[in-house]
Symmetry: C2
Subunit: 76 residues, 2 copies
């Protein structure tokens, strides 16, 4: 159940990143994170914290709530 | 900076909880969390994870993005 959530969030983050033509490296740098951490998030392997969600939102220049504006594939 | 975020999130969670006349105990039970953890979140002392944000949203019967729909008091 929770895997669906992390995977859906990762897919959503990747689409937001690509919409802005950012590489993972660029997003990681802007969000003050390691590239491998961003890569892990996008692969649904990281249960991101509130602070990191806000850092990613700031890096993408979007409101944090938009980062949670996605549908969880499969059951939650 | 990050303290403002956690404190603002905690204040927001508390107002959403009280709007529904839930006690911390009731919210914790519905979200499958310990009451002391919910108390810690509301006091701005927990950097909540994505999975727990979704559990809280489901317990409050709101979309997860609404849990991040708040203004961070002070600078971010």
């Amino acid at each position: 159940m929770e895997d669906h959530l992390l995977t859906s969030f990762g897919t959503h983050l990747k689409s937001l990143r690509l919409e802005r033509s950012f590489s993972q490296e660029q997003l990681a740098f802007k969000a003050d994170m390691d590239r491998t951490y961003v890569s892990g998030i996008e692969r649904g392997q990281r249960n991101v914290s509130l602070i990191n969600i806000f850092k990613l939102a700031e890096a993408l220049d979007i409101p944090a709530k938009q980062l949670l504006d996605f549908t969880v594939e499969g059951s939650l």
